[in-house]
Amino acid sequence: MSGASSALLDTFPKYLLLNAKRFASRPAMRHKDLGIWQSWTWAEQLDEVRAFSVGLRSMGVKPGERIAVIGANRPRLYWTFTAAQALRAIPVPVYADAVGEELAFVLDNAGITIAVVQDQEQVDKLLTFREKIPTLKHIIYDEPRGLRDYDHTDIHAFEAVQAHGRSLLADDANVAVSWQDAISKADGDDVSVILYTSGTTGQSKGVMVKASAAVNASKDTVVFDGLNEQDDVLAYLPLAWSGDHYLNYAHGYVAGFCMSCPESVETVSHDLKEIGPSFYFAPPRVFEGLLTDVTIRIEDASKLKKRLFAYYLGVAEKYGEAILENRNVPLAGRLGYWLGELLVYGPLKNALGLSKIRVAYTAGEAIGPDLFSFFRSLGINLKQLYGQTEAFLYVTAQTDNEVRADTVGTAIPNVDIRISDDGEVQFKSPGMFSGYYKQDEKTKETLTEDGFIKTGDAGFFDKEGQLKIIDRAKDVGKLTSGALFAPKYIENALKFFPNIKETVTFGDQREFAAAFINIDLQAVGNWAERNNIAYASYQELASHPLVYEMIANHVDETNRKLAGEPMMAGGQIKRFLILHKELDADDGELTRTQKVRRNFIAERYGELIEALYDGSAEKYVETEVTFEDGRKGTINATIKIADAGVYTAADNAPVKEAAE
């Protein structure tokens, strides 16, 4: 690559043209369809994108126009991004599981003219809310199933638009030339994509990322982790999330690697195994799920296997991370680990689809240290990064040799980062947004006067210069005693137990900390089965006395751990309850990315919170729930409230020994 031409590489369509030359016959995209992995080379991908893009252009798409992309990870939806960008139009990916109103809000806010969607489900949603999206002119669908009888005046099949584009290209050789010219003439100042935040706090905001920003940020991180065209990823993260757009789409174009789309949401674990990605991202809860899965499988295994597993897990715990980080390990340790790799870790990684991982990241929430170490000790290079949609993604990340469970690494090259006086993390980065779409006020609120982005996260740099995030800045509170109350920190400690799926803690301006707990239906259900405990529903299992006893033990243990940390000792959980229903995004209790909506929950379950603090032993509540089909209903329950033991640092010492 000569300096001059690489300077021109400031949009993804330009990379498409380049990759179709330099990696012409290397795979760019795979998708499992009808049980077979279909694949497209970069040259073929160019052909697909061009045909669709020309088809779009014939439909009257103009520069700056916004085109929505809604659905699961499908090649055609990814091609839509580039096809739109090639026309200098702006793709706007939207969460596929958004309910009708949410979807309508985003599409209206973005002034969408054309929506490219996956299937009938999305078409139906759009048709229902059509009046609320006055700008919407056309809907283009990928999968024709069930849609043939729809009025095709402004609903079209993707393949029909593509076929039309192909015929235009065939009729006139100038069409291809002018299309390519437009790409070369475009510059990096165009907005490349608008990514809507999932709305942890209030309405979604459209984050605009300029093409040059997106490309430059990706270039830095491609270098940071040495990504290249040999890498493989499974694109299974929500298409609308900045993480997917960055890690898979942007990285894919810049590094030239192949992106594989799973067959369906349910088959991701199979597909992972078949593809064996070398670069992988998953939020902590996915790793948690994997560990729970492994634990359950091992519990059902034969005694010999159990013993083998336990023994070699011990070996891995002792030497695994040291070997991964190239530290000194005695020969016996290496030998034991090698045997373990042969007998346990290798087959296990293979079963999980993680055997070819070169770089894996987790982010979004804090990951339990034991969970983190578990995967690293198996030889998986799992690291943490810290990012924001407003940064396109990366702010900090860990380098291969400085990986720790409780930090998120140092600033990525070319990123400026600082901690404000009130403890908030602020940064400036190559990939930073150019503003929220049509929300200048909000943009101003987010930026400091000198152009840094306020993250809203409280954090500090530790001795080694690694960033440590405590919590959302506004969420860190104080007990009435003045002791620090960092809810996330405590919640993560609780969620370390496989039986606890989700938890929400309270304590700000209160006498003590208390918690709502959601049990993990899979893990606890399995335990119940083994112990012959019959249950018909989540609610019944959650209120079972033995389950309470088990969770109480977990809370106790968490308190012991907290007692050992001077800063956090005050935040021990004195009382807790197990919620009668699982927190659910359909009820607004979680965001679409499965994050807890704290304030909403505090409001919705106000009575229960009071019960935690007024000393009552149980509390009757009625809760409205939304079923998957959109109907609403009510469930009632009498919820028990339990006490937990509180410890001092002195209590803790011997216990910790015993635990190890």
């Binding site: 199933r145 076929a163 088959t267 089909d629």
Partner: protein
């Protein structure tokens, strides 16, 4: 390039996949199967008494009735498990009296069972593949060689089966032994196996028995999609009246082995005999 955009130019893509192996020339709306004065008894017990009705090409025909009304017996007569003592069955214009179930299968009659009859030890894929056995052309000799025509044919069958797997959204259990699947999914696999034969007439014996609301809705959608997309004629037995009213074109009602009503869901639900039978008015 400057011509205004005309959506008609785009057209609608042709379906990738049809179930047409048993195209029979019977026009949509004509009688596909006619049951005339059929009576069936076991020992002294009369299961069906002088029942007549027809199933028309392209419709969803429900057979309903209280427990013991003879519904499953009727289905067993149609697919040749039982041979009626009296009456005739005319299928695609051919009258037949006794027919073996394998012959019925070869003529395009597929079915599912009330108590799922899958091959429990085999994978979802293999189960559905067996559904295509009647469409198998190459004999044992070629298969034993596993080469040439038989291998190619197997690949074609596999493609068709993959379309069915895709249609029923069961990709994730392709390789799972069906015995390990939850009940609702087993029902879906069984439907898949019946569809794999590309039937002209699909008999479903309580396709939604034992399902929760969501599973019932899914199954209803699949049944309607099959009927709608592939034009498959469907006769089904179902207890859930809501489902029957929603998805069937015509309903025949049996009670104690006799036909007591026949017509559109609306007509049937207003029929006094039917109301009585369901309310349990004693027979005089």
């Amino acid at each position: 390039m400057n011509a205004p955009f005309d959506p008609k130019k785009l057209g609608i893509p042709a379906p990738e996949f049809t179930l047409s192996a048993h195209e029979d020339g019977v026009a949509k709306g004509d009688v596909l199967l006619n049951v005339e004065n059929v009576s069936l008894s076991f020992g002294g017990v009369r299961a069906i008494q002088d029942v007549s009705f027809d199933i028309r090409k392209g419709e969803v025909r429900a057979i309903i009735g209280p427990n013991g009304a003879g519904k499953t017996s009727m289905l067993n007569v149609i697919n040749g498990f039982y041979h009626p003592q009296q009456g005739t069955i005319t299928y695609r214009g051919e009258q037949r009296k006794a027919m073996r179930s394998t012959a019925a299968a070869k003529q395009g009659i597929s079915r599912t069972f009330q108590n799922i009859a899958l091959f429990k030890g085999m994978s979802t894929l293999d189960n559905i593949m067996t559904g295509r056995i009647t469409l198998q052309k190459r004999g044992l000799f070629w298969q034993a060689l596993w080469h040439g025509p038989a291998a190619r044919e197997d690949l074609e069958h596999r493609r068709a089966v993959e379309h069915i797997i895709d249609f029923l959204e069961i990709q994730h259990i392709r390789k799972t032994p069906v015995g390990r699947l939850p009940y609702g999914l087993q029902k879906r696999v069984e439907l898949g196996r019946a569809l794999a034969a590309e039937p002209a007439l699909l008999l479903l014996d309580e396709p939604m028995a034992g399902m929760n609301l969501e599973e019932k809705e899914d199954m209803s959608r699949f049944i309607l999609d099959v009927n709608h997309q592939f034009g498959t004629t469907i006769a089904l037995i179902e207890h859930d009246m809501g489902v029957v009213m929603d998805i069937s074109d015509r309903v025949v009602v049996l009670d104690y082995g006799r036909k007591i009503g026949d017509g559109t869901p609306d007509e049937v639900s207003k029929n006094q005999n039917v109301i009585d039978a369901y309310l349990g008015v004693p027979h005089e």
